[in-house]
Amino acid sequence: MLTSAERQRGYAGGGVVFAGIVLFIALAVFALLSFDSGETDRPLFDAYVWRILRFTLWQAGLSTLLSLALALPVALALARQPKFPGRIWIIRLMAVPMGLPVLIGALGLIGIWGRTGILNSALAAIGLSEPISIYGLSGILIAHVFFNLPLACRLLLAGLERLPPDYWRLSASLGLPALSVFRFVEWPAVKPLLAGVAGLVFMLCATSFTLVLVLGGGPAATTLEVAIYQSLRFDFDPARAISLALLQIAVTATILALMALLPTPSADSTATGRAARRFDGTGFGARAWDRIIVVLAVLFLCLPLASILLAGLKADFARLLTAPVFWKAAWTSLWIAFLAGLISLTTSIAIINARAAITDARKPGLTARGFSALLASLSSLVLLVPPVVIGTGWFLLLRPYGDVASFAPLLVVMINAMTALPFVIRVLSPAFATHRQYTARQTANLGIFGFSRLRLIDLPVLTAPLATAFSFAMALSLGDLGAVALFGSEDLVTLPWLVYSRLGSYRTADADGFALILALLCLGLTIAGTVGQRGRKDDGS
């Protein structure tokens, strides 16, 4: 239903964006592969590299197992208690760690689980001497569970709430005991989701950078991503960085390939607190169990968040806010985030429009269909090569052309834009598809094209999802430490980098203060992005 001019514009935009992204990633990988370290005696993969790989997979596996094992009872409890007080807020709380900058989450966790955190203080008070460490493997596991338990819980809960309400009536009329309900109703609903959720969580944990950087880091607790960073930033050993990067790509490629075989988990429409009526879970034992599980989960998630707030409020804001370095960092962060958001948004729109143009040609040729599939896989390509690898590649590539520090901001912008791409596409793609479905035939019949269509038809409807996607991309970039860690310097200070460097120099109070400011900025952006969506659900023509 597009005019041929519209269709050609769609193809062209998709082509430019595709070439740009592939070039950006491929050049980085090419630079890595062709780097000549001058050493010939050292094997590409030595014992150290293998140890790092083993730890990466080991911690990711354990994190996945723990996240899922703990998320399952929480999801079951929330599903069984549709009238739990504040249930909808608990479900919303589960979305917070996803939007929280990872570094800030780590600070909150240190506040609770750290040496002087309330948990270990309480344990010390009853006679145990600091049995839990937030650093090393145990710390990495706690942090990964903190970020991934809520995600897994939402996806599993959505699966449970997709069950037809009749199942619960039927179980009640048959008088099934709780164990039978689990065996015959709940488990069959959850089981097919587990593989997909596990894949997602494993991917996130295997490529986790900031948490491992802050909480791990020693030779015994380092993942591939952090090891790449350390070998470049501290040891300046590009050869090692290359072997690590190649392994990293192999690992992510394997996970992505396996995930492609699994069903994609979805938190669609259901995890909004609109739960079916349940007739079980009313007995004393069941209610007590559900309550204890949910309260523990809420405490686990809320305490670190509260710690961020309380620790942050103790900071000397008068000093922090007048420090020139803060304003410099805030300004740098904001314009990097703004540009990254803008690039991510335009790139996503080009990809979506190109794919729509290909679908619109009713019988796209093999080339067109192949191109559409390639465009769809761009998101995965971005995930395949982690930011620190892209950064490393471009670092090597640009080194001969002068001081890398002068290119650094641009690289950080590009890397952040790429990182946000899958999320932006996920927000925009369904919104664009629905809008097209409602308006395509009308606009084609009435002959509304170009600027008129943009002004009258598209912008009024798509501004809200565009704002959501843009603010989400900005928040992601604003809270990111991964890209800037490689290039951060006196000249390039962002807010997360400021928090991290304060933490590194043991000025914890300053770090807490800056962290609170950053958390509020990200929260503000997220709220600003979702405001436009309210009250837009009334139309039904």
Binding site: M1, R362, A444, S452, L456
Partner: protein
């Protein structure tokens, strides 16, 4: 294209493949008459309409409206107005804007145009509804607004794809009556896809029966209703 001269529609050996389904249409919809397009679900009724409107392009054969071969023309260049079952209006725009877009696609409207919009709304029984958003209207009112837009567009052909299917039976009756009135005023050529044998009897001058992507009967309504030898038709009419 904005003339009120009725234009007949001819599909000459039009063929199209969608997925695994093959369609072959060869038919004539007489000028200034209402032609009903009927048949079982999935038989190709909407596909026929989409070919006339330009949402599907035929792989061979020709689509002719009036004296013009429109086979390769974009939907916006064909002399047709459309009313679907739903989504006829842009939900975020008020009725005046929605109808105004039918007069000028970039909404460059003059004062007389505003008058025309009001008159059209009045004609379909929605006087004073200019500033209302589609979401605040009932299903029947939204279809009336869609008719008002078709009125101001003054295209010689009006295509309707089950326009009343989402409405209550009582409302269908009065909407069909409104359609008939408007048709008698404008003398346009109407093609209406319908599942409803009652609607067929009330509205149509001619009728087509489509089965498995082919037209198995095209005739004047009196003849159409008498035929007992077309597979599937009897069951359809007795519905």
């Amino acid at each position: 294209m904005t003339s009120n001269q009725p234009s007949g529609i001819r599909l000459q050996n039009v063929s199209l493949t969608l997925g695994t389904k093959n369609f072959r249409f060869d038919c004539e919809l007489p000028a200034g008459a209402i032609t009903a397009i009927t048949g079982p679900s999935g038989s190709g009724k909407s596909t026929l309409l989409n070919l006339i409107a330009g949402f599907e392009t035929s792989e061979s054969g020709r689509v002719i409206i009036g004296a013009t071969n429109v086979t390769a023309l974009h939907p916006s260049q064909r002399p047709v107005s459309l009313v679907f079952q739903d989504n006829n209006l842009f939900a975020h725009l008020d009725l005046a804007t929605n109808i105004g877009l039918g007069i000028h696609p970039s909404l460059k409207l003059s004062a007389p145009d505003g008058k025309r919009i009001s008159t059209a709304l009045e004609r379909v029984g929605l006087a004073g509804y200019e500033k209302r958003k589609p979401g605040t209207l009932s299903g029947g009112e939204r279809q009336r607004a869609a008719f008002a837009r078709a009125l101001v567009r003054e295209r010689p052909v009006l295509l309707l794809d089950e326009p009343f299917a989402a409405l209550d039976p009582g409302l269908r009756q009065s909407m069909a009556a409104l359609l008939l009135e408007l048709h008698r005023e404008t003398r346009n050529t109407v093609a209406i896809v319908t599942h409803d044998a009652g609607e067929l009897r009330q509205l149509a001058d001619h009728a087509l029966f489509i089965d498995h992507g082919e037209i198995t009967l095209q005739a004047e309504i009196a003849v159409f209703l008498m035929r007992r030898d077309v597979p599937g038709l009897t069951e359809f009419l007795d519905l």
